[in-house]
């Protein structure tokens, strides 16, 4: 449809340019039309021949420019980048002409309008400024605008009166404590509401934990209990329950007013979680995604394969992420809970904290529940009757889940569009029992010995000399790459060689590819 746009553009441009108003206006005449057509055909053939000679498409625009007078101003704009056109085109095709708007006589109007439009039809140049790249000052301004708009959005659509968030975290000093606690700390630092962080530590309140949480800048209450954290997962979760209850007692005594959530130190929270819990009235529950796999990649792959097989056999839809949370009927009312299915892991779950096996959650994890702190107070107005009095709770009975705090579990509010949104993820990963870590994860003073990594080519090692021994292995060969050290430096490396060999010997039994081991050892013998 628009194929002959260019064709028409030439005719029309001629008709509305004030330079050559005469020749084409008569084209309306019938005989003139056929003459023009013939002329156009000849011109087209000429251009085709020239294109054949030159090797690229030769535009008829050139004739137009050649035969025009230079009285009009030509504005040369920088060339647009067209990846599909070859580069040679650019000087011919990108000349943009902006016909002088005011002076052009309008020959094309049928109805004689006196005003002429400021806008002219035809080819225009593509304007590109001299440095078409982002200006950092403007990027900064734009970000400030975005921030202002989002602040306005939040004030209009977000929560009108925000409640304080009370985060309860049981922790203890161990290798991965810094990893987990920093994660939770950074999440809590991003929360846009008032926050109090109650940290209960097993084994007493230590300076290590205090130094980690001091970096947060949020209001913290650091409580220690004397018992040490036991070594099995089951006992650990029992102690954690005890620690959480301690924290709730602190909340009750301090009369903190807000929403209590349980931020276990290895959990991961999304920011939407904190927005959602603002909606809780008394006692709410959210869906928790369970990441039950341990750090063992092989076992994870095996279990995934097994699960795929099971899926194919049983033809049942099992979601890839097990979720613990409220179950609702079609009218969004709470009817029960989804809990974690422990059957696939029977007998294979971790018992001790450093076992290399899947760590399973409890039936109902505490982190999936939030409650209004007024439930814990002694006297609070409008306290519902379906809540047990916290002060008279007997812990020795053992609290399985936060639902034991309530007389009537059906009054719990499901949050996160009735549990459809997974707002936090549960994970337990701990290091080996014999793992050592420097206090505060700071190595002070710095180590004296630096050992070269086997595979890294050091920049100050000169390249291989052109005369190679036959038995020297090439640099990149499978797992056992050897940095070939040239002869000049052997005196310095002689000390190192036995060490490396000994290290390699130590690691040999663990290599899975035994053939390579034998080849490397044989080659080493050859060299020596």
């Amino acid at each position: 449809m628009k194929l002959s746009a260019l064709h028409q553009s030439y005719l029309n441009r001629r008709s509305n340019s004030f330079r050559s108003p005469t020749s084409v206006d008569s084209s309306v005449d019938g005989s003139g039309k056929s003459l023009i057509a013939l002329f156009w055909l000849i011109l087209h053939c000429l251009c085709c021949l020239i294109s054949l000679l030159l090797g690229f498409r030769f535009s008829r625009l050139v004739f137009f420019f050649l035969f025009s007078t230079s009285s009009t101003t030509t504005n040369l704009y920088s060339a647009p980048f067209r990846p599909d056109l070859p580069v040679k085109h650019l000087d011919v095709h990108t000349l943009g002409r902006r016909l002088d708007p005011g002076a052009a006589t309008n020959n094309f109007t049928v109805a004689s309008t006196t005003k002429s439009s400021r806008v002219v039809v035809g080819r225009h140049g593509i304007r590109i400024r001299p440095w078409p790249h982002p200006n950092p000052v403007e990027v900064m301004k734009a970000h400030q605008i975005i921030e202002r708009v989002q602040k306005e959005q939040k004030s209009v659509f977000g929560v009108k009166r925000s409640k304080m968030v009370i985060a309860v975290t049981p922790t203890y000093v161990r290798t991965f404590q810094a990893l987990h606690l920093n994660g939770v700390m950074h999440s809590l630092m991003l929360v846009p509401y008032d926050l109090v962080w109650v940290i209960v530590e097993a084994g007493g309140a230590t300076n290590e934990t205090a130094s980690i949480i001091a970096k947060s800048g949020i209001r913290t209450i650091h409580v220690g209990i004397d018992q040490r954290m036991p070594n099995t997962w089951e006992d650990r979760s029992k102690l954690e329950v005890f620690m959480r209850l301690q924290a709730l007692r602190v909340v009750k005594e301090e009369k903190l007013d807000g929403v209590v959530m349980f931020a276990d130190d290895s959990n991961m929270h999304s920011m939407e979680f904190f927005d959602e819990i603002q909606n809780v009235k008394w006692f709410g529950t959210v869906s928790v995604g369970i990441l039950a796999h341990s750090g063992n990649a092989e076992e994870m792959v095996l279990s995934m394969d097994k699960r795929k097989e099971m899926e194919k056999e049983a033809e049942e839809e099992s979601s890839l992420l097990p979720v613990q949370g409220p179950a609702c009927n079609s009218t969004d009312q709470l009817v029960g809970w989804h809990i974690f299915n422990t059957l696939p892991y029977a007998g294979k779950s971790a018992v001790y904290i450093d076992d290399v096996a899947a760590v399973l959650p409890q039936k109902l994890e505490w982190s999936g529940f939030v409650l209004n702190s007024r439930l814990l107070w002694e006297e609070a107005e409008n306290k519902p009757e379906w809540v047990k009095d916290f002060g008279s709770l007997n812990e020795n009975e053992g609290l399985e889940s936060p639902l034991s705090l309530l007389k009537d579990p059906s009054m719990v509010e499901p949050l996160g569009s009735c549990g459809r949104q997974v707002l936090l993820w549960w994970l337990r990963v701990e290091a080996r029992a014999d793992s050592k870590f420097p206090p505060g994860w700071i190595i002070d003073p710095p180590l004296e010995i630096t050992v070269a990594a086997k595979r890294t080519p050091w920049p100050d090692v000169p390249p291989e000399p052109p005369t190679k021994k036959k038995d020297q292995m090439p640099l990149s060969q499978g797992d056992n790459t050897v940095v070939v050290i040239p002869k000049q430096q052997q005196h310095s490396t002689k000390i190192r060689k036995p060490k490396r060999r000994s290290k390699r010997n130590k690691h040999e039994p663990k290599l899975t590819d035994t053939t390579q081991v034998s080849s490397s050892s044989s080659k080493r013998q050859e060299r020596n």
Binding site: P80, G122, H124, R127
Partner: protein
């Protein structure tokens, strides 16, 4: 005594209503009242202010065409079809032509589609001419005024010029028979041949259900600064560049393709509507014609439209203060678009967003079925009502002829 107390009550009521309306808190966002150059007319009710008579044309002018190609119901020119359906069941319709203020001719000129879905305008002048001949011979009302109290819906690219190419459209000009009628069209550009004085500019048709089904929660933070999806170069029809969009779209691409603030590309993602709701500014540059459905989409999704089209006339320009709502950028200023947009003060941006959030603004851009109060159909009727009463000069003396029935290209005179 009674009179003064009544007057007092009246004044008090006025004051309370004006303060309430100044900052009307709808269910969620505070919005601002929209008053254009014609006043606060977006919520006017046209019922009772005008009467429209709908001609009963043979179905070959409307229904049969639609049966041949039902795609006409969904493309952006569908306003002509829905206008007829609305008028047939509207309270402004009258079956007595003697009392009618306006006459409507339901002829679907934009329904001859290519396999791709683009309308071909080549037969439209003949179809229009044939329809007018029919009504001129069967009813006396056309000859009475030579069409000055008739209105037609011509939603094609360049309105009643009936061509998709601007130069050809300018060459043809508005169809001579429609020179005195009121045209309801989507095209609008100041001082252009194809925009007649007194025309009513309407937005292009955008499917309301489709847009409503893609709404996301309003509290989703707007994190994209500038958003645009569409062509920058039309390689098929304009291989050398500089012709399509008068080079403006290409300039946007060349200047801002590596700017992280500008989320622009030619891909058509499935989350197009959702992304618009996450953007602060949406570019609405011209294409082959200055108007586009992007304006409607930007208004519905609360994204401030950045209009890059010189001298464009936007829909319902006398009822909607587009200068306060959108940002107008001259085509020559496109290389400095980032400077222009970042130098707008945040209060102005927030005010524009409040104006856009006004539900009457969103309603005025849509053609819902069935019609709802304040929608585009009603705005068209409001516009027609504002042109009443007709001047004396509209009515011709008997025997007087102002239109030349044989003017125009020869091909147009053939029967349809």
């Amino acid at each position: 005594m009674k009179l003064s107390s009544l007057v007092l009550i009246f004044i008090v009521c006025n004051l309370t209503f004006s303060t309430i309306s100044a900052f009307r808190l709808s269910r969620s966002q505070p919005t601002e009242r929209i008053s254009g150059s014609a006043g606060d007319v977006l919520e006017d009710d046209p019922v009772g202010r005008l009467k429209v008579f709908v001609y009963e044309l043979p179905s070959k002018y409307n229904k049969k065409i639609l049966q041949k190609d039902p795609r006409c119901l969904n493309h952006m020119f569908a306003a002509e079809i829905y206008m007829q359906r609305f008028l047939l069941s509207s309270p402004v319709r009258t079956l007595n032509p003697e009392e009618a203020d306006w006459f409507y001719v339901p002829v679907y000129t934009t329904c001859d589609l290519t396999p791709n879905g683009l309308p071909l305008p080549f037969k439209s002048p003949r179809m229009m001419r044939s329809a007018i001949q029919l009504i001129a011979s069967n009813w006396p009302y056309w000859n009475r005024t030579e069409g000055a109290d008739h209105f037609f819906v011509v939603p094609h690219d360049f309105g009643a010029c009936f061509h998709y190419q601007e130069e050809k459209a300018i060459g043809r000009g508005i169809l001579t028979l429609l020179q005195r009628a009121t045209l309801v069209q989507t095209f609008g550009q100041r001082n252009h041949v194809c925009l007649k004085e007194g025309s009513i500019t309407v937005p292009p048709y955008a499917p309301p259900q489709k847009m409503q089904s893609h709404l996301i929660p309003e509290k989703t933070p707007r994190s994209i600064f500038v958003y645009f999806r569409g062509l920058f170069y039309d390689v098929g029809n304009d291989p050398e560049g500089g012709y399509y969009a008068r080079g403006a779209r290409a300039a946007v691409w060349e200047n801002f393709k590596d700017n992280p603030l500008f989320d622009i590309s030619t891909e058509h993602p499935t989350t197009y509507y959702e992304d618009m709701q996450r953007a602060i500014f949406c570019l609405c540059p011209l294409g082959w014609a200055p108007w586009s459905p992007r304006l409607v989409e930007a208004v519905i999704f609360g994204c401030i439209p950045v209009i890059i089209a010189d001298d464009i006339v936007l829909p319902f320009a006398d009822a909607i203060p587009w200068e306060d709502i959108g940002v107008f950028v001259d085509e020559k200023d496109v290389p400095y678009l980032d400077t222009i947009l970042t130098s707008i003060p945040p209060e102005v941006i927030l005010r524009k967003q409040r104006l856009l959030a006004n539900p009457s603004m969103k309603q005025a851009m849509l053609f819902p079925q069935p019609a709802q109060p304040g929608d585009a159909f009603h705005q068209v009727l409001n516009g027609l009502a504002r042109k009443l009463p007709h001047e004396r000069s509209v009515y011709l003396r008997p025997g007087e002829k102002l239109l030349n029935w044989t003017a125009g290209p020869v091909a147009d005179l053939k029967p349809w």
